[in-house]
Structure formats: C-alpha cells, structure tokens
Amino acid sequence: MSELGHPLMNTSVLKVLDGAIGSFFKLTFVVSILLLIGPLVITLLMSFDSREYMGPFPPPSFSMQWYQNFFSSRLFMSSAWNSLIIGAISASLSTVIGLLAAFSLSRSSFRGKGALEALIVSPVIVPGVIIGFSILLFFSSIGYYGGRGRLVLAHSLIALPFSVRILYAALQGIPYSLTEASLNLGANERQSFFDITLPLVRSGVISSFLFSLALSFDEVAVSIFLVDPQTTTLPISLLANMRNQFDLTIAAASGVLIAFTLFVIVVADRLIGLERVVGQGVYEGKR
C-alpha cells in the first residue's frame, strides 16, 4: 500500500471523502430498506381503506370491507383451497423424495455422483417459464391433463433442489459415529435410519417442508401454463385480477398473505432459528 505514504493522504480534502462515503452508505442503506418494505406497508394500509372506490393514499379512515370481499369471493376461496392442497402435497413429496436422495448421496460413492448431484439441483437455474412451458408441451403430447396432479408434480420438481440441499446440509451435521454406534449395538440399517438419523434431521425436514410450501404457494411462472378453469391456484387468480385497478380486494389478499408469511417465519424462528433458515435454506439454496 504505497499510496499510504503519499503526502496527499492526510490532507483534509481527502478526509472529507470519509464523510461523503459514510453518507453514501447511509443513503443507500435507507433507500434499500424503503424499497423493500415501503410498498408492503403502503399496501397494508390501503387494504383497510374505508372508501368504496380507489382513492389516493393515505386512506382517510379504516374498515374491513376489502377483507370481507376477499373472503366472500368464491374464486379466491376455491383457488386458495387448491393452493393449500397442492402446497401441502408437493411440499411433503419433495421433502420425502429429497430426504431419500440426500441420504443416499451423503452415504454413497460411485462414478458419476457429482454429475447426478448437479442434475438434481439444476432445475434452480432454469427459468420457471421454460419449465412450465416444457411440462405443458410434454404432458399434452402424451395426453395427460390431470389438473391438480400436474401442478403437484411440477411444484415438487421445483422444490426438489432446495429440499435436497437443505436436507443434505442437515445430514452432514450428524456425526457418523452415532449411526455406527447404533449398528454396533445390533440395529439394522432401517432401524438406525428411523431411530437415529431421522430424529436428528428433524429441523432440516421442517425447514425443507416450509420452504417447499412457501415456494409452491407463491409459484406463478410454472403454474400459469398448467392451470385450467377448474383448477387454479391463488397466485394465478390474483394475477388474473390484478390488471383491474378498481378495487382493493387484492390489497386485502396481500394482507392475508403477509400475515401468513409472518406466521411461517415466526414458526420457523421458534422451531429452528431464523439464522439457520437463512443459513441453510435461503443462502445456500439460492446459489
């Protein structure tokens, strides 16, 4: 760092840069935070608007009318119910399948294992639209149109890479000596898996399930190709009504979804700790 010896280095002119860069950091910090939560806060406030029409922000007084609208809409309620069922089944499926895959990958060695791992996590990097479009083309070519079934399978596929990563990390955290001890004490492989390994990866299983559920509940790019008039999901029916800017029912729906998200986060924080959700599920997974 030869620059340090430079006579200019200690002049007050350059010291001013300290303040400037410090202010720049603070400014971008505030901008990013506002950018992230500002719109959500405004939407939450607007969802309680008591006016019958869409008036400018802020609302003069509050009411629950848009929430009543949302909960009495047959379209939104039936699609929310669909989303819950599809989410629960696909999250269970991806977690179980993912656990089997993660367990075998963490305990085996064979040629082409690296390639197989890469293949399992690769759906993450393919844009959802391409996956949805391809599934649609392929399934209609073989003549399969089962509304919910197609969506469940597609959602399991996009959750699988995350499940495998989360569970693989969780399995790596278990000392092999525990399995070894159980085997030495006379347990067979299956007993050892169910009595030792499974209880120890419980937190991984929970975060895999929650993460897959959240993914499925929010999925649009894949689902938009696979829904039909009888089987639609909540995000898709919200999207279909979003262009219509005349009422705030979708703001109320957003309020419900935000509450649901906060609930999931609190549960995740209580069960496994927020830092671990980030460490395992999101940060590792989003790579």
């Binding site: 935070i33 405004i42 895959a101 996956i131 399978l153």
Partner: protein, 284 residues
C-alpha cells in the same frame, strides 16, 4: 465411514430420478424438438415430423430482438444497482454494532424472501400507480404516470425488489469471511476510514461482487411477473414472449425456440458466475 455402492442406494434415488426424468429432462428435450417443427395456422403444436430453422431465424426480426435487448438491458441495470444497494446492507449486517438493528434488517430480508412475488409486485404497482404516493409528486413535476421513463423506473424497482434480498445474503457470507482487523490495521497506520475500507474489505470482496452481479442478472432475466405487470405491455421480457406465444397465438414451435434461446442465455450467465466464484475461491 462406510459408503454404499450405487446399486444399494439406487432404489432410494429412483423417486427423484423419475421426477427429474418425466418433469424436467424429457419435457426439455421435447421442447428442443418442438422448436424445430413447422407451425401451421390454427393448429396447436407443430407439424409432426417436420424440420425447420425458421423459428430461430424469426427471432432475428427487429421486433423480437428488441424484446431480447430490453430484457438484457434492464436486467443489467438491476444487477448493477442491486449490488450498489446490497453492499451497504450486508456490510451493516456483518460489521454493524447494533444487535437489535441487525436482527430487524435480517428479519426484513427473510420476510422479503418468503413473502410472495405476487404480493410484492402488486404492492409496487399500487405504490407507483395512480393512487400511490408518487402520483401527486409526478403531477407536480408535470410528468405522466404513463411516460416510458416512469414505467422503466417502476420496472427496475420491481426487479431490485427481488435482486436485493438474494444479493445481500450472498454478499453477507463474503464480508463475514473478511477479517475486520485488516480495516482497523489500515486505519491505525493512518489511512482515512474510506481508504481503509476501499483497500481492504472492498478489494477482497471484488470477485464475489462480480458473481453476485451475475446472480442478480440471472434473477432478472428469468423474471416473469415483474415485467408482466410493471412493464404494462410497453416493456416485454423474453419470458413474457414465451407465454404470449403459447397463450395468445398457440404457436408452440416459436415459443419453444424462444425458450431454448432463453435457456442458453441463462446457462451462460450461471456458467460465468460459477467461473468467477471458482476463481474467487482459488485466490483466497
């Protein structure tokens, strides 16, 4: 540790294998094949057995190329701005002194990652829309909410909303791995704070910044709802083009060709990110 052979774990890998085969590998191969078929007006799907390059050549028309250039241009802006906005956040999360403040910022980021794309895009369109907080301001400076400049800004804000949380959490790991004492040492040797930061922490995170920018770029390129809603039909991304080929004119071969082009672009971006990341790890 006892390791198993492929034969003994194969049954456990079978379910994921089947899922990948029937919902991923075969569909993608089918799309590749479809992209070379001839489209016939009024027919759903290409003519079986036909072969043509015309779907790819069609993409060279100015109308399609402008979709691609819009996609790449706005994704690039979102990637660069995403890094600029994320770095201070992750620096604060790593080096900040307030424990409560850090917990709040982390909770916001996690909430953003979990709260739905639909909710976020709707919130932005409401906030920037005719009843939102910027409408009076825009009227004051005699700027139409329908001007291209305003739509572009809204679109970039929407993309940033998805790039910043991912970028911040990725950068956080990098900054956590840089010894804070380097910065202190530089300062105690007489460097002003900005220079100490510049010459140690920022320099050491440079390669990670590159790969995070590429990550943000790939998040933006594959964005679907953001351009669909916030682009308001004025700005169309490649992803939207695929959907409209399917939904509006049922030209599957053309949609498939666009999908393959987008896939190649996405893979190239991820490949570049992996490359810089590897270089980063071999250098540390």
């Amino acid at each position: 540790m006892e390791t198993y052979k492929f034969r003994s774990v194969a049954p456990l890998l079978l379910p994921s294998g089947l899922l990948l085969l029937f919902l991923y590998i075969l569909p993608l191969l089918y799309t590749l094949r479809e992209s070379f078929k001839i489209h016939e007006q009024g027919r759903v799907g290409g003519i079986p057995g036909s072969f043509t390059f015309v779907n790819y050549l069609d993409f060279l028309k100015p109308a399609y190329l402008s979709v691609l250039s819009d996609t790449l241009f706005f994704s690039l802006i979102a990637a660069v701005l995403g890094v600029v906005l994320s770095y201070p956040l992750s620096y604060y999360l790593s080096r900040g002194s307030s424990r409560i403040g850090k917990k709040i910022v982390l909770a916001i980021l996690v909430a953003m990652l979990f709260s739905g794309a639909i909710v976020r895009v709707y919130s932005i369109s409401l906030t920037f829309g005719p009843v939102g907080i910027f409408a009076p301001l825009a009227r004051y400076v005699v700027l139409s909410l329908n001007s291209i400049w305003y739509i572009e800004t809204t679109l970039v804000v929407g993309l940033l909303n998805f790039v910043v949380p991912v970028a911040t959490l990725t950068l956080l790991a990098t900054i956590n791995n840089i010894d804070p004492r380097l910065e202190e040492a530089a300062q105690s040797l007489g460097a002003p704070r900005w220079f100490a930061f510049w010459d140690t922490t920022l320099r050491l995170s440079m390669q990670s910044i590159t790969s995070v920018a590429l990550l943000g770029f790939s998040v933006s390129v594959s964005a679907f709802i953001v351009p669909l809603i916030l682009g308001r039909g004025i700005i169309v991304f490649t992803t939207n083009l695929i959907f409209s080929r399917f939904a509006e004119i049922a030209d599957h071969p053309s949609g498939a060709a666009v999908a393959i082009i987008l896939l190649v672009i996405s893979l190239a971006i991820i490949g570049a990110a992996q490359f810089t990341l590897k270089r980063f790890h071999s250098n540390v």
